[in-house]
Symmetry: C2
């Protein structure tokens, strides 16, 4: 016989009800120890840039996402409400700013792939933009994250450009093998603050630039 | 009887048809001579920056307007439609990029006022942002236009900062008199291409910076 509450709904044993919700697998140790890292690369970089700004080390911002506004309602002048808009393709990279007198410009992307980084994460016009910025004395790179492996790398534009062009050759690879990235790029280790201290790598790039010209 | 073309469409006397389209007033001489200038300062600067990019003189872009997206419809994955969004306050200036190895950062504003430029066109955080960028070796300024007078000026951050602070003193002016601007700022003359050649002024600023340090 089904036991019922006064409202007529049947009584269901809580232990049974929750069985499905509970994971049978105990939480893996690895998952626990990386709990701080459950953020997107964008969040990591926003925190890092905020840290650099607060400590007056560099002034680097993420650019707003380009949006094409089609319709706006003005219920009150102070609170214009956009009712129709579309995402536009970015014509540049996402991050730029100034550090030690240098113009800094970079793009950040992550992949769930474990063995290589697909080049389709970048676009022609972004490569073109970085090329131009380097020609004018800027420092350009990409920060790429293997989100499953939790490994982050800084790859300079000059190296990315070579790999980018190679993909159009016969049998050209459409993605960069992790092994190549390990060889060419700088690996960034997560720290408490800033989360992704990429400026220490930029310091090395600047030092090398000064040596090139001296 | 209506005269018809071989295709059956009636013949309409062109003289009559165009009567309404023709303005009865002769175009004023002033309007004609300034006809090129019927653009907003933003359009002038976008054209100028595009010219500089095409001629590979500098890589300077306007940042997208920051928008807080609240609701998005996905009728198809390729055409996400934003159905609710709001304008956010910009935390930086509108334009930045790289020129001759220098980080360039500026804000552009216009007024219909004829005798002075209201300081309320700028915001605390923009001044703060420019201050920080200058500290890190960037070149920061504002481009201001008196739209009725059709006069455009480039005012360096260092001068703007002094005027900005003065407004908070007793009897401090909330706007910059045109006479002060004529004295402190560089006037930009419109040219065919680029429309507002502000980099010639930046050249002077760079030359002066190099002298300061030598």
């Amino acid at each position: 016989m089904t036991i019922r509450y006064p409202n007529g709904k049947p009584y269901i044993n809580d232990d049974k009800k929750n069985t499905k919700k509970q994971s049978k697998k105990p939480l893996s140790k690895k998952k626990l120890s990386y709990s701080n890292r459950g953020m997107s690369l964008e969040e990591d970089l926003n925190q890092t840039n905020e840290y650099y700004r607060l400590h007056n080390q560099a002034i680097i911002h993420k650019k707003p996402i380009p949006i094409q506004v089609v319709n706006v309602n003005y219920p009150r002048r102070s609170a214009a409400k956009i009712t129709e808009a579309y995402y536009r393709k970015a014509s540049t990279t996402d991050y730029n700013g100034v550090y030690r007198g240098y113009y800094i410009d970079f793009e950040a992307k992550e992949t769930r792939n474990k063995t290589s980084f697909p080049l389709k994460n970048f676009h022609d016009h972004q490569l073109e933009h970085m090329k131009k910025c380097v020609e004018h004395g800027g420092i350009c790179f990409v920060i790429i994250r293997f989100s499953v492996l939790l490994r982050v790398f800084l790859l300079e534009y000059s190296d990315l450009a070579v790999l980018w062009e190679k993909q159009f050759e016969a049998d050209g690879k459409k993605s960069i093998p992790l092994k190549t990235i390990e060889k060419l790029a700088y690996e960034l280790d997560y720290t408490i603050a800033p989360r992704l201290p990429y400026l220490t790598v930029v310091d090395q790039i600047i030092d090398r630039m000064s040596h090139d010209y001296s």
